[in-house]
Structures are given as C-alpha cells and as structure tokens.
Amino acid sequence: MSSIAQYLLNGLMQGTIYGLVAIGFTIFFGVMNVIKFSHGDVLTFGAFGGLVAAWAATALGFPIWLELVFVVLISVMASAAIGAIIARGLVLPLKDAPPLNMLLMTMMVGTAIRECIRLFFPNGTNPQRFPELLPSGGFDLSGVYFRYDGLILIAAGIAFIFAVQWIINRTRLGLAIRAVAEDGETARTMGINFTLTVAIAFAIGSMTAGVAGALYGLYYSEINYSMGLILAIIGFSAAIIGGLGNIWGAIVGGYLFAGLQTAVVALLPALSDYKNVIALIVVVALIAWRPTGLLAERGSERV
C-alpha cells in the first residue's frame, strides 16, 4: 500500500511539471490561436539559464537561499525573455499564416534552440548536473519516502499555477490579455496595445516554462539539452485533452497524463515499455470521445 502513496507523489510532481508546460500552450493558443511548439525548448533554455545562474552564484559566494532565489529568477527571466522574443520576432509576423506554417515554424525554432544549447553550451551534449539547493533528506512515513525538496517543489509549482490563474483572471493585465484573446481587433480599438499585450502574454506563458525548468532541475538534479522535446509533446497533449484555451483544462490534462504513465507502470509492470504508447492511445481515444477537450465548452461554431 505504501507504494501507492509513493506513486501518487511521483505522479503529482510529474503532473505539476506537465501542467505548467500545458498552461503555456493554452495561454499562447488563447491569445493568438497558435500552437507554439518551441515551448518545451524554451523550458530547456530557462533551465540552462538557471544552471548558469547557479554557477555564477557559487562563484560570487551567495548564501544558499539567495542562490536558490537567483536560480529560479534567472530561469524564469531567461525563458520569459526568449518567449517574448519568439513572439515578437517570429510568431506575430506570421500571425495570418496558416496554422500549419506556424506549427512547423515553431517546431523549427525549438530545434534551433535545442541545437544551440547542444553545440554552444560547454559540454552541452552531455547531461548537466543541477545543484541541489533545497534541504535534502526527508522522512519515511509508513514506507513512503517523502523528500522535503519534492514537497516544497510540488507546493511551489501549484502555487505558481494559482498565481498565473490569478494574473489572467483577476488583474488588469489579465483583462487586457483576455480582451486580445477574445477579439484582437476590438481590443485594439479599445486602446489596448496589441503587440505589447501579446508579447507580455507570451512572456507569462514562457515564464511557466521557466518555472517548470527550474523545478525540473531542482527535483531531478539533472538537466539535458533534449529534455524539452518530449515535454513539449506531453504538454501539448495535456493542453489538448484538457481543452485548449482553458487553464484548468491544461492542469487537469497534465495530471491526467502523469497519472496514466504512472498507472501503467504501477498496475501493469510487464507493459512498462509500453507506458508512453498506452498513455498516447488513451490521449487519442479521449480526443475521439471529446473532440474539443475535457473541459472546453462544447460551443457551436458561429455561422
């Protein structure tokens, strides 16, 4: 029984990371109706930014709590910056192009980011060790091993999810973003700076990737240049099965995907090779069942 709790804990951590990635997808889709597939690689970029920050902090002799703050801050800023740059430089100019062009373009941007890290980061092809900045150790509760860092990170991730939700739904900035999402033209006539709002929305969406990247590094103590690709596929799946444009949908999708993967290993250990295959079959089946996602309104098309 104890291992069930252990699986749950693992699944929760994975789900939080997936959910964070999916939120980014859903924000981009909401605002610009685009799928920005480079999102996973923006995450990687943020995580590597955090790694460089950690090296700098060590060199400067920061205390460990300051190093932690610095690492997370730089991760978030690095991914927000590159997200905004991609939005401004590549996504906006192509906003009227067919969706397929945008999809391919952002996939290629992701490839370019990935390759740049691999080629230009020192020893970039190899996995990199991410410093452990959170209290190590943990406690054993009837056979379940709770690590402090895991608990802290899950809490932090969930807190950030709520923060993003709050920004989008409760602030003036969020109002502007939602206005642009609803109808770009009208928002413009209402005096909202369209380009700036889009760039900010992309920055916020990318920040979630930065947070996910930092969480990933702190939790797994290891990052590598190619971790973004599979996370992008999973995050995209999560956002879709939840229902694009719906933040809660993205979160549900994230935990669902993690739950599926964990369940296959826990319940059908003989099929653990097929973990992703089974999870993706369920994704396809879910899409067939609810073609616009689990939480999306089943709104009818305007005719």
């Binding site: 291992s3 020893n123 996995p127 103590s221 290891e222 993967q261 653990s272 992703n276």
Partner: protein, 393 residues
Amino acid sequence: MLGSKGGVWGLAVSGLVLMAAANADGAFAKEKVKIAFVGPLTGSNSQHGIGGRNSAELAVKLKNADPATKYEYELVALDDECKPNVAVQVVTKIASDNSIVVAVPHYCSAAAIATVDIFHRFKLPMVIWAAVLPQITYAKKVPEIHRVSGTLIGQNRVGAQFMKERGYKTFVSFADSTDYGKSMNEYFTKFTNENKNEILGAFAVPPDQQDVSAELTRIKELNPQVIYFGGLTPLGTRVRTQMEKLGITAQLEGNSGIMGDAFISAVGPELAEGTLTFFDSPPLSKMPGGKFFSDNYTKAGYTQSPEAYGPFAFAATNLVMEEIERVGPNRAKITEALGKVKDRPSIIGPITFDDYGQNITPLTTKYVVQDGKWTIWEESEYATGKRKLKNLP
C-alpha cells in the same frame, strides 16, 4: 535562356576541373589517401560521435606529421545520425567514392547492422570503432567487416562473474529500449541465470524518458540488492539521481554505456561513488601510448572529451593507416591485410581479429567510482575492503 542553361553545364565542368586541380596539388607531395569516419554527429548520441571523430582526426593529424609515412591521409567524416536509413545513405556515398579506401564507421549498432551488406557489396573494408552488438560481426562471415570494440558479451560475462564473487543474489535490470539496451539486458539475463542468481524484474524505457521514478518505485518494492543498468549516460544519470530521490539504496552496476567522465560530472561525485562498470579497455594511463593520446587530444584543442570510445576510434584509424602503409591504398589488399591482424599493439590493448573480423582480445576491465574518478577495481579501496559496495550481503 539556353545560354544560361549551358552555364550550368559549364559550371559542372568547371567544378570537375576544380576538383581535378585540387587533386593535382598533391602531385608534388605524397599521394593523398582518403579514410572515411562515420558516427553520430547530431542527435542525442553526438557527444560520442564527435569524440570519436576528434580522436580519428587526431590519429590522422599525428600520422601526417610523421615524415616517414608514404601517404598523406585525409579523414572524411560523415554523420549517420544513428539512423539506419541515413547510415545506408552515407555508406553508399563513401563506398561509391573510389578515392576512399577504407572506413571507420558507426557508434550505433542499428546503423552498423544496416550497412554491413553495403560494405560487402562495394568491397569497402571497414573497422568498427564502437558499435557493440554481437551480430554485427557474428551474423555471418563478411571479409570486409572488422571491429576493434569488444562485443557486449564480454562485459556482461565479466560483470556477472564479478557480482557473483561479491555474493550478490538479487538483481533488477533497467535498460533503455534501444537495440543496445535490449541486447545488454539479454546477455545480463543470460549470464546472471547461468550463475544461478535471481532477476526480480526487468524494465525498459525509451532513452529520452525524463522521469523514471515510476519504474524506480516499482523497483523499490522489489527491493533488489543490485540494479543493473544497460543504457547510455543520459538515462543512466537520471536513474542514479532519481534512485537517490526515492531513497533506493541498491548497488548500481553499469556498463560501457555510462563509462566516461560525463556520468560522474552529471550525477556528481557523491552519487557516483561506488558505481561499478565493466568496460573493454583499461584506463589510458595504463596503456602504452595512452598518455600520448590524451596529451595530444588536449593539445589539439578539442573542447569535447573523446568519451569512452574515442580511444577505440583512434586505435581503429591508426590500424587502418598502418595497413595502408604496408599494402598501399587498395581496398581489396586492405581487406586482406586486416583479416590477418594479430596481436597488434594499440592504445586499447593488442588487437586480434578472428575469422569474423571481431577483435577477440579486448581487455575487459572492472571499474568503480572512487572520489569522483573511474578507478580500476583492483587498485581501489573497495577491493582492499577500506570502502564497501552497497547492500553487500
């Protein structure tokens, strides 16, 4: 328009003239001989490919610096991306190029299996520098095929024997789902069973899977003494770090796939401490010429490390150049000469090819991580009993 059309042809012709001119440059110097190197230069295995390429390049550079050689060598390096179809493409390319007389190909076994027939068809001799699946050489006798790296059978035989001697009884196998991992698992299972030890479970995950905690939780339930890992460094790193996160205290037994500094630097010296591997080459410092290789590698200014198989690429390239010096740049003659290689000294130990072209004298060596360094077991504090492996019965 027709004029411009003619321009294309004119250009094609002038291109050929240019090529001819380039070749003519060497007319006064030594005859130029081309050797092809093939390995993954892009993708997730590219650190090995680039390390191997650098090492092969180094061998060529050092050889060319030697005034006593008969020929001037040129290395043509190509990327097979570790994909069979791309490998078929690039090998067809080098095989159709008659100026290339011999090849040093492949890190990934799937690529090598796909190209064996092409090397044979075009009668291009080759010496594999890293792919380790047994059937590349042993599926059938092909005169052109040779391999300096040992098959993964040896590593596993030595490993299983070693673990038995330490008294370990229960194992779990954790491999990646590539050909490499599957084959590793196969021979691990074979030898472990022969030793009458118990395998509690076997797991396979794609090499790019990031989170392995679900599998590890399952392993924690099984509570083995040893986790056998059959995969490459990136996944190995994740397994080791996530074992720690889940509080798994089993002994980690690795293989050639995690051999190299990358593993230790990625998991950190504390976590790496005590990890075992079995690898087909003693440390460079123990080999004649090993220090020469590492010094020159550093001196050449390569930023990427040669990785575990760099020395093999260096040895293979040197071997083919030695044969060319002896019999001349002729494919058939090189094939014949390579078939007779016996006890040839190299930085990875003496090389002897059997009838299948397989190097049968790899010096499989036991390593353990001690203070952030791969240390030969016999020289480690673990062997003396000063430090202890985990979960020793």
